[in-house]
Symmetry: C2
Subunit: 203 residues, 2 copies
């Protein structure tokens, strides 16, 4: 007797996306562990059990949310990296792209920031670890290229600089609200100005 076919693999993902979006927002707001499937169902206007028609577990919702986000993120990053710009342009493009992703996937980014550290331990979320490696490689190599080309300072610890830039950008997801007074591009511009030139007045 075959297991009853559930729609998660094949069927029209219209409703799925809706549910995933609301789930993502609840996850981001309350934290994954503090979010019960009943709360998600409430926000979606249905009962807890009904979620299991669309998904086969709470964890699989989380996985799909993060996977979708990372897929789009890397689509954007790869476009930038393949353009073979010079180091400074690459950094600017990566930062700008990052803020655009925060704009589009604010909930998923917030979830990623809060939970990824504990999730990478599970084999199910191994794709997070792989993404992190690619991420570090992309940023670190850009910084190193910049140092070699004498456009970035050589007197800084490279790994420290990497974490500095990375965190600086992505923590913004914790306070950023789409539709605020600054567009992602405007925020990126000011952040880049601070990161590249500093906040002190030049002599």
């Amino acid at each position: 007797m075959p297991t009853k076919k559930k729609p998660q693999v094949t069927a029209a993902p219209a409703r799925r996306r809706e549910l995933l979006d609301t789930a993502a927002e609840v996850f981001a707001e309350q934290g994954y562990n503090a979010t019960t499937v009943r709360k998600i169902a409430d926000h979606a206007g249905m009962l807890a059990g009904s979620l299991y028609y669309h998904f086969d577990s709470k964890e699989s919702m989380l996985e799909e949310i993060l996977r979708t986000f990372l897929d789009e993120l890397w689509a954007g990053y790869d476009t930038v990296l393949d353009a073979e710009l010079d180091p400074r342009e690459t950094l600017e493009a990566l930062v700008t792209e990052s803020f655009r992703e925060i704009d589009r996937h604010r909930a998923a980014v917030a979830i990623y920031q809060k939970e990824s550290k504990q999730l990478v331990a599970q084999e199910r979320f191994g794709f997070l670890a792989e993404s992190q490696r690619r991420f570090e490689k992309a940023w670190l190599s850009t910084l190193e290229r910049g140092v070699a080309a004498r456009v970035f300072r050589a007197d800084l610890d490279m790994r420290l600089t990497y974490r500095f830039v990375r965190d600086t950008v992505w923590v913004a997801a914790s306070w950023y609200r789409p539709g605020g007074q600054h567009s992602p591009e405007e925020i990126a511009r000011q952040y880049l100005s601070m990161v590249l030139d500093g906040i002190a007045v030049r002599e």
Copy 2:
């Protein structure tokens, strides 16, 4: 009939501190909600119920951890602020002091970062909101003094700069490990160098 006197208010806090330290580390590692009292008890070498001899709830452990941290943080900050240094020296001192606190209270800082946003909603943790207001005021006024004194750039959005500096510093708690190759002061020095002067090469 009076409630049985528990030692949390009066007695020798030696054992309490030990238990709070291990609780803080488990909270920081697994997240508050994902941490069960049984896990904390495991790490402490005792059973779940025994914790309730020292504390009256899981939440009160969390509160005491955060309160202890914030008390020490403000002791340090107030010393800096009362010294009435010029804006740049104040900023440098605040950043350095922040990294020292991260060094001393790494677990508490990590917990604060992850959970404070959801905790401030509860009245029990109202002291977090008050601390945040003082915090913002201290940093923002330092930045504004710096702009007025023409040592910090005037062309930046002040609130954006504040969040930039704040996040830049405190996110470090997520990867910082005491006893690493860099001392808190050394990390502060490099961070300040980046924040003040930027990572780009000067002409």
